[in-house]
Symmetry: C5
Subunit: 310 residues, 5 copies
């Protein structure tokens, strides 16, 4: 059910129910404040929800826990879209605050509505676990998108001079992967803290699920590392191809210059107008010179062949 006005909340906040409240659009500050007040949240939680700082954190308060989770999703142009999602977990309620109308949690909402699975029978901390997993799934999709795009970039044509535009893409990718990795690391810190401190609002039998989430996060960080090292390879390769192209261009210039500059000198010699140049009078002078020049060309070509230049 979607609510229009904070006052309607009153009906829901009956102590005997377990409920999940999903607020999209934390821009409506008044609504957020009203909800928070109704649930007796600490001032700091309200400040944090309305603040747009990009850190994931987990704070324990007297009668509830506050989770602030960063979500990074890749758009179709691989731009990273940042969203801060806040969770407040109480003994019998879970409230989520999203900046945008959420597309993270649709399938979970559907499963609850249809009464599927074990979600309805479990407590709020189990639901929270599912929601966090949904966010991690989105991270995984983003990393996969970046991996696909990295493969495309990395399939250089080794025989073409690559444009710096390619390097710019590689570098932008690196920055993105780095950003995702750092977001995941602060998520891992949260799960580590939960594993270590075993907070009382999370039931002991559900702790194992949080440990699973931690392992999932670690494997995602691992993927980021792998992607980074592949991107660094691509960047090394890029520079090498640039040098290789240069080498090839220089070789062609050198081969052509080395063959024709000496020949031009030779023909220049016999273009001189000295009164007495015996070779010019010889009957076969011209043909002898042509023979000499052909010999020169052929021996040059053999020399460059041996040097593997052509």
């Amino acid at each position: 059910t979607s609510l229009k006005h904070p006052d309607e909340l009153k009906n829901f906040l009956e102590p005997e129910y377990r409920y999940w409240l999903n607020l999209s659009g934390i821009q409506e500050i008044d609504l957020v404040k009203a909800v928070c007040d109704k649930l007796n949240m600490h001032n700091l939680i309200i400040d944090s929800i309305l603040d747009f700082a990009q850190v994931s954190k987990f704070q324990e308060f007297e009668n509830n826990y506050y989770f602030s989770i960063s979500s990074l999703m890749a758009t179709s142009t691989l731009e990273l879209e940042y969203e801060q999602i806040s969770f407040v977990l109480g003994e019998d309620y879970l409230v989520t605050f999203q900046e945008k109308v959420g597309d993270h949690f649709n399938h979970i909402r559907d499963r609850i509505r249809e009464g599927l699975g074990i979600i309805r029978d479990r407590s709020c901390d189990y639901l929270l676990c599912l929601l966090l997993e949904a966010i991690l799934d989105d991270y995984q999709k983003t990393i996969e998108k970046l991996e696909v795009s990295e493969s495309e970039i990395n399939s250089f044509d080794l025989e073409l001079d690559p444009s710096p535009q390619v390097l710019r893409e590689i570098e932008t990718h690196k920055v993105r992967v780095d950003q995702i990795k750092r977001a995941l690391i602060s998520l891992r810190e949260i799960f580590l803290k939960i594993e270590r401190e075993k907070p009382k609002l999370i039931q002991t039998k559900h702790l194992k699920y949080y440990v699973e989430l931690k392992d999932f996060t670690i494997s995602l960080i691992d993927n980021c590392d792998r992607l980074t090292s592949r991107l660094e390879s691509a960047s090394n390769l890029f520079f090498s191809i640039q040098s290789h192209r240069m080498n090839q261009v220089m070789k062609i210039l050198t081969v052509i210059s080395s063959i024709f500059i000496p020949l031009s000198f030779l023909v220049g010699v016999y273009g001189m107008n000295f009164n007495y140049m015996p070779e010019l009078q010889w009957r076969w002078g011209y043909f002898v010179l042509i023979g000499v020049m052909l010999t020169l060309i052929i021996s040059m070509i053999i020399y460059f062949r041996k040097k593997k230049w052509i």
Copy 2:
């Protein structure tokens, strides 16, 4: 109220008040010493206040705490201006020592004067928390300035040979970000120490605010890391563009040399003065040669087109 002479202090230092003393210009050593003596500060505090060492630190003394906080603000030319601000927190007083007439704390002073907010009703450790936040806000502004300037630098024109001046700017930026990051790391250490040791002059209910400051510092450090990785990308890109430019220059040289050096040789041949050169007598010799040369030029151009050089 601003004081002219240390003796005027006496009137203020009545035990029943909570007060905040803000001293600008620690160059006036006598004044600083007088204040410190009045408040029974440890010798080491006085030494530290007057010392210009650039480290942030937090020391607990018997009846007060000493905080030395580094502040780095960017001027309009993005030079980093360093200032060391000292705080002495007692049970019912807070003294701040600034090198310059402060512009960090104006808005807080204004709020106290106008009796706004909850500042007046809280204890000195809460005030300290606000002042530290003001310093972190200044760090954030500095980082944002550097980010704006980094974006400008990073928008290379890929088709121009970049001047090493650009790289010098990138490198200077890196050094600056590095400096800010290290300053923030020593701040984080202070907040971590407070979180861990829960010093008694800081009220338990205010501890959460210090944890918030720690999170803020961590997110700033994160921004520094992101900025550094972007600057490293820019520097990689810079080198790649330099190589790319070189490649293009070399290609033009090679194309022109490869086309005209062989042609020059050809025309040189028929500029020779041998008595017997049959081609020279042919009626259409000249035009045949021109035809041959045009064919050569065209096939060269096709060759370079295929190699994607022109």
Copy 3:
């Protein structure tokens, strides 16, 4: 013995026996589920077995332990083939789940069948230790293969312009070694955890064998580090050879141009058609010029010899 249907299991699962169950092909989800149910495994174990996440982990459950081990084996083309092997260790049973029909454990199976060694007399945790060692042995073989192939790559011919293809191979190798290293690190974490926590299903007298496995893993990680540093050397060398080749090509171009361009100018001078050019009338003009040119050539060659260019 190989089973066709999960129901046949019942006969085996008599409490008085110690047994090892080796399931290949975890694609047959129903079979896996049936076995797991029979052995009263936790839901999370079943999920993990069927999940293809590439992380090694060790989880303790109430009456059994779950090990998920990543195996990386190099094919003949040095592609890394990934396989996730799951172990469930109970008090008197050990179940292994493999994706493919296993080739890791053949020699161990043979030794059990033939009743060789001390395997039959020991408990399941000792068997597990042997199986894990078999996986580590496969890692070692993979690393050795990569080392052999690295030596081949690293034996550059210093006098040939290396193709970027070589660098691509180096970089691919780096990525592979990095992947193996990370897989081994998560294995080391597992052995460290066992050494530290001394879980009760592993007999104290067998703990030393697990410590041995940890040392083995550490020595493999060490090998990976050594391989990485060698690959980085190879990549440095590659770039240096590229530059060196370029230098040599440029030197040849420069030597030839420096010798013949001035000479061409000289012969050009005496090819001019001015009416009055005294040298042209001299009887020995031509021979004097040839002498001058020979002197020039020889002094050029001496100059370049001294500069060590030729």
Copy 4:
């Protein structure tokens, strides 16, 4: 007072005095051994004093502490001069062993002689603290010298091809800073150990001074890091300027070649001796050709202007 013979020591070693013994020239092994024996030092201390190993360390023995401190001072040519200074701190004595006649502690000796300050009234551990501070001051001076010299190096002329000599200086600087940093890190370890273990021969009221020394060391390490990152910038800049210079040289070559090689071809054409070349007979042929060539030159120059090459 300066002593000539170990036996004179006897007079000094009266239990009722606090004294400071400063030995220069640990080459005189007999003297050192005599002093050590008189003061009942452990064998290991004597070995360490006479050993020239370059590590800073702090060891607690039954009735005294042994400090081995590395000192690195820059000579006028910025060579680093290494000296190992040993301190033995007993309950009522402090002995220092220097390799050279010391210039570290002159001002402290002067202050003691003149009875200035609070040094005379304090215990030996306070004196040790002052001596260690003097060594750190020397480190600071060395770092400042290197910073001055780094600024000189870093002020490249962007328009000159830099000699590898400059890079050699940068690299030598890096090695030096690295050496200083590592020496400081082992000093920091000593101060951390003192802060943590609060050894009983150091009075509790003096501990704060050692913490101060730790902070001083950390700020020096910080300076080293900053210097290193500046030197890395300088080295990056150096390579960029090399490439930039190359680009400019290549541009000039390309511009001149591109303009004159085609023109040379053109004039070559009309230097040919074909019997029938209609243009040669034309009255204005020569001037038309000159016009064509001027047009070519001008359009080339416009083209290169547009490409920002000249």
Copy 5:
């Protein structure tokens, strides 16, 4: 005394003696096994001794300790020769197993034979300490050899194009130093473990000697780090010199081309055969042209001088 057959051992293994058994050639498996059995060693020790894994480790067993120490010695060609030396320390015996007939311990054996020093009077753990120190001394000699050879490599001739062979040597050196460093790090771990756990077979009064060994190892690691940073400097310098050489070659090419290509064009102009070319008829045409060309050459040279190219 050297033994020929394991049975001879029996005579030695009398409980009332402290003894040191030094076995060279662990290839003789039967001998090793016999000795181990006689001394009641754990199976794992025997396996480890016969295994050639290249890790240093320290394991405590019920009645003895097992040390496996890697030794790396440089041959005259600076190849690193690897040897694994095993020590088994019991309450009143010490057995060493070497692959080769040992050259590490000769001077210690000599001192024992001659009854020199305090070795004979001390227990086996003190002897072990001396043996380990001998191995570290060999490490130190190896590092010193590498340092000498590094100095030779690093003294580049800045004016010669360096061969990639030099870089290959630098890189091989790096790999070697890295290998030594990693071997030393695992040794340090052993000494740290001993310092921390204070194992009971090592007498408390000898513990300080092990701490000394730890400090020695740390100082060796430090030397490795210094060597590595010097090698990285050398490699940077190498690349810079390569670029510098290229720049110089290009400058010479550009200077010669820029001077003579325009001049060749000029003389080409007056080599044309147009019927009407007024300059050709002028009396002083030739000499005017020579004057023009000399002016050109001189102004070119002045230009390049100003640019600091020649």
